[in-house]
């Protein structure tokens, strides 16, 4: 298996940060953590880190990610035992590839999410 492209790695990190920010902004989840003693109030530096990371990602790829983010909580999903962990559908042996500049990515043929092999 080839190593993840740098672009896909950056996209995975971006999604992780997005999820972190989403939870920090969610009053229910942030409240649960706060009651345990974990504050999540300082969003500014994380938002800036997100901007820096986003600027390193190929424009078309970022656009696709942002667009799909409106539909899915997770745009980039893991593949386990040839099953897309987004829609839980089995993937064919050869999954579809899509080129975005010099980045080749795999998409789930069922839901369209970007696939990531852990």
């Amino acid at each position: 298996m080839p190593p993840m492209s740098e672009q896909l790695q950056a996209l995975v990190r971006l999604q992780d940060i997005d999820f972190l920010l989403r939870e920090a902004r969610d009053p229910k989840i942030a409240g649960q953590e706060a009651r345990l003693g974990f504050a999540q109030e300082n969003l500014g530096p994380v938002v800036k880190a997100r901007q820096r990371l986003a600027s390193q990602i190929d424009g078309r790829l970022l656009q696709t990610y942002e667009r799909m983010s409106r539909k899915f909580v997770r745009v980039v999903v893991a593949v386990e035992h040839r099953v897309c962990q987004g829609c839980r559908m089995s993937l064919p042996t050869s999954t579809a590839s899509r080129d975005s500049s010099d980045v080749t990515l795999e998409n789930c043929q069922n839901c369209g999410r970007i696939l990531y092999r852990i």
């Binding site: 999540q40 300082n42 880190a49 980039v76």
Partner: protein, 164 residues
Amino acid sequence: MTSATVVARKPTAIEGLLRSGLYLPNLQSKRKSSVLEELVRALVPAGVTRHPEAVLDLLGQREALGSTAIGRGVAVPHARSMVIGERAVLVARSARGIDFDAPDGKPVHLLFLIVAPSMEHDPVYLQLLAEIVRAIRLARTRQRLLDAPDFASIQEVLTHAADE
């Protein structure tokens, strides 16, 4: 004639995740950032992740939101990421203590690193956080963890404390 009723004990989330390979009895690093690096490095041979730099980056972002030190010498750095293959709890101690931006200003001697895959709904993750916070609330439990001679003792103390 009376019959004894045996109530089955519900296992805690933490006890199923404690592993000797995820125990660092004496951290060498002094600074918060290098401590996080030392913790994350230990996840790789344990098979928890193959991308430690991404985990470290995310933990750093989580700390930027607010310190995961909760006072009384304890920190619980935690994050969920795409690059984590399975839930894991790493227990670590620091004899000299670490400045972890704790709310009470005290150095941290006990650390519990919690990592998990980023699933949309994962009640176990929050349960783990709650169990650890509950487990270390008593001074005598914290002291027993600091004095524990080996991983088996740590495991015993944590399992019973989380259950109390």
